[in-house]
Amino acid sequence: MAKQIIIDPVTRIEGHSKITIKLDDMGAVQDARFHVTQFRGFEKFCEGRPFSEMPSLTGRTCGICPVSHLMASAKACDEILAVEIPTTAVKLRSIMNLAQIIQSHALSFFHLSSPDLLFGMDGDPATRHILGVVEKYPTLAVDGVMLRKIGQEIIELLGGKRIHPAWVVPGGVSSPLTPADREIILNKLPEARAICERTLSWFKGVLDQFKDEVNTFGNFPSLFMSLVSPSEDGKLAKLEHYDGKLRFMDADGKIVVDQINPNRYMDYIDEAVEPDTYLKSPYFKQLGYPDGIYRVGPLARLNLIDVCGTPKADQELSEFHALSSGPNLSSFQQHYARLIEMLYGVERIEELLNEADILDKRVRAFAKPNRSEGVGVSEAPRGTLMHHYKIDDNGLITWVNMIIATGHNNLAMNKSVKQVAQYYVKASHLQQGMLNRVEAVIRTFDPCLSCSTHAMGQMPLLVQLLGPCGELLDEVKRG
């Protein structure tokens, strides 16, 4: 008898979602799928608006990572203007982008995922949440709050207000960095660095306890994609979050394609729409659908590079790379990758703030639209973020396409859920530990569902166990 177990909603991720697990006649997992249930409709809604509004409009796509959308959007607008923005503006935007990565990773790691790591996947749900962490591991909880706060404060200092800053504009940024603000940011960094280092060494200490999770949490071969930039000597690929070129690597560590100008993403990526989810499923064109499954995000970024480009992060990166011969295939290691990226972010912000031209007053290029189309690609905390706009002769938007990290990861998330379910679902009833692991594997991707379904519709929320003819065998509701 085929049975279907549906876990819903997944707690502790942003937005709403649903997971279905299909069992075959023997009660073994046949298929598992992650459904997304939110509607935002942004792509349509932007049509007819002036392109210069796009950074703000798309920043509204998401309350969690508006800064990432600002980056990709402003870059798409720069392309429409066909200007090269002042180098100081590039650096200032990069600082803000890194601050966003720090604050978002801190939220993901400390607030959303640390309860599972500290109390174990089978820990009592009554304490396995951030308040439980505050009670039992106050230092770690305080570190998380502090690190996130520092990231947010940097964003606020640069952009004027924490959420949806209008400081990032087509052509650059709207105001230069003041010497006083530079000092304030520099003074915050030592504490941020100490927190990152502390947490990394703690995490590496407990990693051994999670062997099962490392092996079963989305540990499967797939492609990886991210932006990378060349090292100084041009020989190595360096960690990049703001600019750079796209690179794809296969599960054996072979670079499949490299040096792709981000505005040619469409030559490499296609999007499939599946009937039972509102999330589009992008895939790598050369391998077709659904074989062209690829992952983006912290793990992908670290797999794709040779160096981070900052001293401490590079030490950590070599340890991380030593864990596997080729790319690290376990999605569980996203947590680890996030910690390294935060350390990198802190180091890199410091480097940028110490550059000679960081206080330069020329931070914006002015122009009228000189192209009818623009693509902007940046690395958001959750992975590669793509904005693509077309405008009419008057500068009004006629067409928008956005591919968001959670979208890129859609096929990989399904595969991860299936893998966990295969390992943990043995009987046809719902075990707490299994449910937690299925949810936890989704959380390793840190999916931000409110923005990843910007183009589709709404689904009801429920938990169901279905028989072969679709008959309802059991129902579970949570949250």
Binding site: P55, S56, R60, A166, V169, N394
Partner: protein
Amino acid sequence: MAVTTLKIDGKEVSANEDETILDVAFQAGIKIPTLCHIEGLTDIGACRMCIVEVAGSNKLQPACTTKVKDGMEITTQTARLKKYRKMVLEMLFSERNHVCAVCVSNGNCDLQTLAVEHDLTHVRMPYLYPKTEIDASHEWFALDQNRCVLCQRCVRVCDEIEGAHVWDVSGRGVQSRVITGLNEPWADSDTCTSCGKCVQVCPTGALSNKGKATGEMTKHREFLPYLAQRRHDHK
């Protein structure tokens, strides 16, 4: 010219007979909220934000177009006036699509300022969400009907100061729209001199310079009283 005396909010003031309540109140340092009024252009009483109570009449009078009379007793701040002013604002917001958070005029908008001054926390009537267009055909300027409050400052400044009379209002009631030329794209107007005065006087984000990002559109209106005076002197 005959001089009259009257009372505004209990304060004795004297005025010339051809002056409006708004003028006299302003000179006496009494602030009455306005939206369609702008110093230098003829008042038309379009928005009704400036309503005041006149003793002996149950009708609320627009201060910007009502001439003073001898012995008038005017009140500018009462619960009743506040209620109606707030309602005017609510209707303006519900009639078009105002999304301040992404608007070019966010932070520099007369409508938004009035909303803040009147503690407008929400709108009680249903939003109409009209589907209105943006005319961005002009090389430098854009008209976003979504933000227009039909104050007709653009119509008046273009006619009275620039002398081009590009702007008019077409339609009636909620269908009213400001238009350029004979309701043709702005770029096709033969009379528009591209002086930009309409953009500067527009109280909201309805008229703006192209390419401005959110909150970047600030208006400069210093020119208006000066130019108006010069036009007047030449007549």
